[in-house]
């Protein structure tokens, strides 16, 4: 069986490489890999050819909810931007903080952390507050490369931050461990690592540093703080309402919450918004990301149906313990780059069961692992958060250069995560504090 699976894996890799060599987009290359893997699997026995289309279609809807959130959140921010809210907020922030760089950077870090912490998705942080924060950082003299690096790392940390950490939730759901005890276990490392990141990458001024709003465009007449804040209050109000009164509040879901917030922004905008045109532009802008999300689901489905996914999981689990610890800083981000959240189930669940059984503290290990996974959101082929960071910060240079700019926070986060895993029992007090 292993030989057949290795052949299928080789066919998938070959199809991906061939598509990339033909200068096709990454999404098309991944689709080619999924299709080739499925066909190779059919030739070798599984899945049957007649079921191939079903697997591709079924896989394509794996992340349908995530795609809806991507669209509605981006559309919401596009409305706020179009109404002049973004430029108004950035001008005001720069006016308030002036030359006080450290508090300005820390405040911007907290602003990026909040949406992701509440929703468990770093992409939501970027889509909601990424553009204004990027603009503010740019005004503070940071080049787009470092802006993108800061956004990538902090948005990743926001996804790991409590109260909602989807990797930890998937692991808890799959390992029958209650999703409790993560507030300090994740909150403290996230705040320390986030502060480290913004200070290391943001303290040094670039040549274009300015202390005030300067020559930023003027917001439209009639724009006020209330007009900026009301749409956000609608969104966070809806999120908070379910937290505060869960049994009396209907479940709206993030997609509808963003849509209602966008509706509020349209209604109170000081200038008329061309809704249909803006929605069309948003879809155009998001198309590569949405296509990646569709194809990742297909790839996962084919990998599972053919046994490739099982082989990957088997290879990780059967690695000797010391070697496993040495490889975790590579395996975990890489798995996220290929499988996104699916990686938590494939590698994470068996890993947690195994480490728990040999005396590691499962909750702390889960927290440690969930600091490593967001790093993988900058790695190809998916690179969801990395690509969004580049998009909202306006970075146009080579993708790998902006990733290189994040090397020091990446290393420190990896060291912190590995320390949490290796010394999980000694850090169990964090779980007790959280209970």
């Amino acid at each position: 069986m292993t030989t057949e699976i290795l052949i299928i894996l080789a066919v998938m890799v070959a199809a991906y490489v061939a598509a990339k060599a033909a200068r096709l987009a990454v999404e098309i290359a991944m689709f080619a890999a999924a299709l080739a893997g499925g066909l190779a699997g059919s030739v070798l026995g599984t899945p049957p050819f007649g079921e191939l289309a079903r697997h591709l279609v079924e896989g394509s809807i794996t992340y349908l909810d995530v795609m809806l959130v991507f669209f509605t959140a981006t559309f919401f921010m596009a409305v706020v931007n179009e109404s002049g809210g973004v430029v108004y907020a950035v001008r005001a922030t720069l006016r308030v903080f002036g030359r006080r760089r450290v508090p300005a950077l820390l405040a911007l870090m907290v602003i990026v952390l909040i949406p992701g912490a509440l929703t468990g998705a770093g992409s939501v942080s970027l889509l909601v507050v990424g553009a204004p924060v990027a603009m503010a950082l740019g005004r503070m003299g940071l080049p787009p490369k470092r802006v993108a690096a800061i956004l990538f790392i902090v948005a990743g940390l926001s996804a790991a931050a409590p109260p909602v950490n989807i990797w930890a939730m998937i692991l808890c759901a799959g390992t029958a461990i209650p999703y409790v005890g993560f507030e300090f276990t994740l909150g403290i490392p996230v705040l320390i690592l986030g502060a480290f990141t913004v200070l290391v990458l943001g303290l040094r001024k670039g040549p274009g540093a300015a202390s005030g709003p300067g020559e930023l465009p003027e917001p439209p007449q009639g724009m006020t703080w209330w007009r900026v804040l009301v749409p956000f209050l609608v969104f966070f109000g809806l999120v908070a309402a379910y937290r505060v009164r869960p049994f009396a509040t209907p479940i709206f879901g993030l997609a509808l919450e963003f849509t209602l917030a966008a509706l509020a922004a349209i209604l109170i905008s000081p200038k008329r918004i061309a809704v249909a045109a803006l929605a069309r532009d948003t879809v155009k802008r998001l198309l590569p990301l949405l296509a990646t999300t569709v194809v990742v689901g297909m790839l996962q489905q084919i990998m599972t149906a053919t046994g490739v996914r099982g082989l990957v999981s088997f290879a990780a689990i059967s690695t000797p313990l010391v070697l496993l610890f040495l490889l975790l800083p590579v395996i975990i981000p890489f798995s996220e780059g290929v499988l996104t959240y699916g990686a938590a189930a494939i590698l994470g669940i068996p890993l947690i069961w195994f480490l728990d059984s040999i005396g590691f503290h499962a909750t702390v290990v889960i927290a440690g692992l969930s600091l490593l996974w967001p790093l993988g959101d900058g790695l190809p082929p998916t690179a969801l958060i990395g690509r969004l960071s580049a998009m909202v910060s306006g970075y146009q240079g080579p993708y790998r250069d902006f990733l290189k700019a994040a090397w020091l926070p990446w290393l420190v986060i990896t060291a912190a995560a590995m320390a949490m895993i290796l010394f999980s029992t000694k850090l169990a007090f964090l779980v007790k504090w959280s209970m």
Partner: protein, 387 residues
């Protein structure tokens, strides 16, 4: 320009064809009916919506088979397909429905507890849509479902699921998991209405014992076991010891954690007089490090990767070349259930539960699961319920 447009139209047509070719089987799976033959002991068939009206007319409503005994006694509820990708529970429940004769007491059996989940698939996980169990008269086909209810029946998910009434934070996906939504609410999300229906059944009918039958991965520490809270632990221990001594298989006892909310083995006991038990039989199909997710793996439970991991002592159950076949899993669930009834009857003589005609572990292992499934085409008129 015209060529571009033609190419786009062609691609759109190919895509539409692919969606149709791939989508129709998913639609057929959702609407595929499983015939269940009312066995000699079935006296009535109700709907779960009789206990939870909010389920009426939804895909989550499901059949409740009542097997009223010849003499009064204790009452028990058996639930299968709480997780519809663990078919050993559903098949054990079906064998009870199609074979059992109750001498004393009453059985309530819900073979498709999460009916919506059994009509769902698991995108990204490459599951088969159906599996066939071989019988003496041909193959009997079943839907293979998902752990969670279909988003077509309950959507959207919250960003985090807040358990009722304890307010414990659970994964967003658990809002569709009927082993996280206990004890449920009459007007809550659909899966809370399902568990509320079962709680109402337990409370109104005065159920003494509730058995929730599952399967669990071989790499999961809580596998091959009976999970029981404090009030059920004595009976669980006696049942575990008896099946080991008399029938030669292991099913140890795991305590139900008090701090983990929403599970049947915790909430049923805390919110009613009934004693809950959750049975877990090892199902290699659900493990992550396996070969392709095929019907064969589901049925015979043989996998070379798991065999290798077993040699490295990374599994929580003994595992050899024989795997963990379906008949072992179903047989184990049946024997443990019957033994729980027997131990309960020994301790509570005033409320006996005496069930005959249900095969035990050795019978199912020797003859196969299909040997105990009835042929719906030969059933008397009106004796088949399609779920």
């Amino acid at each position: 320009m015209r060529r571009d447009r033609a190419l786009k139209l062609l691609l759109a047509a190919v895509l539409a064809g692919l969606v149709l070719w791939g989508g129709l089987p998913l639609r057929r799976h959702r609407h595929f009916g499983v015939p269940i033959v009312k066995g000699p002991g079935v006296t009535e068939v109700r709907k779960l919506s009789d206990y939870s009206p909010g389920l009426e007319g939804t895909m989550a409503d499901t059949s409740v088979f009542v097997l009223q005994g010849r003499e009064p006694g204790g009452k028990a509820l058996i639930m299968g397909n709480t997780h519809s990708n663990e078919p050993e529970g559903m098949l054990a429940a079906l064998i009870v429905i199609e074979n059992a004769v109750v001498e004393k007491g009453t059985l309530f059996v819900i073979p498709f507890f999460n009916n919506s989940g059994s009509r769902n698939t698991r995108p990204g996980d490459g599951y088969p849509l159906y599996f066939d169990v071989a019988t003496d008269w041909g193959a009997r086909r079943f839907r293979f479902g998902n752990r969670d209810a279909s988003p077509l029946d309950q959507w959207p998910d919250p960003d985090v699921y807040i358990h009722y009434p304890e307010r414990q934070l659970l994964s967003y996906i658990d809002v569709r998991n009927t082993n996280r939504t206990w004890p449920g609410r009459a007007g809550g999300p659909l899966m809370e209405r399902v568990t509320f229906g079962a709680m109402e059944l337990i409370r109104r009918e005065g159920v003494d014992i509730a058995v929730d039958v599952h399967g669990a991965e071989t790499m999961f520490p809580v596998t091959n076991c009976i999970v029981a809270p404090e009030k059920s632990v004595k009976i669980a221990t006696l049942a575990s010891m008896t099946v080991k001594a008399a029938e030669g298989f292991e099913s140890h006892v795991e305590p139900s954690p008090a701090g983990f909310r929403g599970l049947s083995h915790r909430e049923i006991g805390d919110h009613s007089e009934a004693m809950p038990f959750l049975l877990e039989a090892p199902i290699p199909f659900l493990d992550q490090p396996t070969g392709p997710k095929t019907v064969r793996l589901l049925l015979d439970g043989k996998d070379p990767f798991l065999l290798s991991l077993s040699k490295k002592k990374k599994l929580f159950v003994p595992y050899d070349e024989d795997g963990w076949p379906l008949e072992k899993r179903v047989g184990q669930n049946l024997s443990v259930t019957l033994e729980i009834f027997r131990q309960f009857t020994k301790r509570t003589a005033a409320r006996p539960i005496d069930v005959r005609g249900v095969p035990r572990y050795a019978d199912v292992v020797a003859s196969g699961v299909g040997r105990f499934l009835a042929d719906p085409s030969k059933a008397a008129p009106g004796a088949v319920v399609v779920n």
